[in-house]
Amino acid sequence: MRRMASPAELIDAIAGFGLFSDLSSPQLEAVVHTFEEVGYAEGERVLRQGLTGSGFHVIIDGEAAVVVDGEERARLGRGDFFGEVSIFLGEAPIADVVATRPLRCLVLAGPQVEPFLIAHPRVMFRMLQAQARRLRAANRWRS
């Protein structure tokens, strides 16, 4: 986990993520170039509830907790992504995301998300699928 992943290893890793599973290898390489890799310390806040201007994160390694008003709601791990909802809506995140172990993410700045998704419609479709699953889970929970 602590060792650096070479760009080639990083490409192999994200090729296995649902979000990027339809991309060709030059496209995956472009993703690794476009996103920024960021490391977070255990306990560090990655997303801050109520603070605008955050980015879209894809977890490469490690684990994070989704915390709303101090209460943990979910755990996220390798291949999971977060931060897109507040970017789509132009609003501040409604949760903190906190690293529960050393965390490594690929990060795309908010203003770059829309042009990226429009240039990569297959990623947009996969993201829509993931959102549909989350919506179904939420509806099932309510009913």
Partner: protein, 516 residues
Amino acid sequence: MAELTEPAADDRPFPPGDYPVLVIGSGPGGLQAAYSLGRAGVGHAVISADPGPGGMFRRWPFFQRLLSWTKPHAPAPRGSRAYERYDWNSLLGEDAATRAIQPEFMDGTSYFPSRPEMEANLTAFAERAGVTVRYGCRWTATRLDEDAQGRRFVVATSDGEYRAEVLIVAVGVAEPNTPPGLGMELTRHYADVRPAEAYAGKRVFIIGKQNSGFELANGLLPWARQLVLASPSHAKLSVDTRSLVGVRARYVQPYEDNILGGGVAILDAAIERIEPVPGGDGALAVHLRRSDGAGDLLIEADEVISATGFVCPLVDLPDLGVMTVGASRLPAQTSWWESTTVPGIFFAGTIGQGAKGLQRHGQPSNSGAVHGARYNARLLVSRIATTRFGAVPQRPRVAPADLVGLVTSELADAPELWHQRGYLARVFTADPDAGLVDDGVQPLSHVLDAGGPDALALTLEADGTGAIYPVLYTRIDGTIAERTLDPDPLLRYDGPDASRVVEEVVRTVVPDAVAR
């Protein structure tokens, strides 16, 4: 402190031994950290593999002129704190002789100093400030000893072993990096490029579309017969991203040549493989796959240059557990530039860009450049001094009636806020015991996450639209709120309009504050 056990013939300072802090490196980051440690009275040694000060500026940029400006004639008097906003290259001294040194060494032909002018600036700072370094001392290995006496880093060097409680690693992002495979061994790295005239009439292929690639292309425009730049993602320009991300304006000429049909090719494509052209007299064939999936390309070149960047020469720190990220293998860092995984190892200079901060709206800090890193180094030393060596933090009291004026003058002039936008904040705390105090400059991410008594923090920020505007953060009963001021087209934030908003926000924290 170490006993002086070296032979008399070696009059270099800092012989191997036990020191509270060991600084490794003698570029801008190492020099600033060493100077600040001296001012803070923290015992330390400074070692460097180089023969003299300057770090990467002893050799690069290749075409011998910097990307960072210094304005000899600026709106603020030379040597003042406000002048630092216009001088990106001088280090931060506390007396007149050590301040604003860079403009002394400029000849008026450009506001970007030449490489030798920058080297002279750094050398003069070290001399005048009395920053001593053990040069010619190469770091070779690191281990961590933990016993009843405590925790010490043991740093093996070409001169012997150093032991220190704290390491400040300031070795730059200086190791040429060429990704393996694909025939990349047939390429020549940016660091090994020949003099420009050697490319007269040649076909040159450059891998990489960041500043180093465009710098080479720009310098080779009068020499090369054919220039091709390629990398998988689209070239970004700083004037488009409205930040230091992207190709700087100085190097945009190849881009203009490309879009006006001058012959320079700029391709979004991944390298499939590079191989010699059979019977091609040393020529190389570069096979490319276009990123948009539109097909393959084959380009012949006389030389292929990999402007694929540099990595941090961290020796064995990753084996010690230091997490690194990204193509430059930057160590992941906390808000205070400490390794996220190995406490006690701090990073100064351009490596400090591994402490990302909030990057609100995707805007990065300027920690990779001297004008950001110099403030980080000063702050990290003050943090080390107070948290590890018992220094008492300076917290001057502020009269509530003065706060609005102080805030607006900081928004107008504070160089830390102008250079480290959305990254460093000026903090005033309503301390239940000490009253209203000035807590100086701190990393914004620390201010937002550390908790504590009611406080006001101010930053200047940007959102990629080109505007630069103040943001005031309040912490009241532990809850953070933000208030953004309207951007001013002349970037003045000490007038009556800004003052009114500042007063309104300040009063939520300090009810008896008044605007002057």
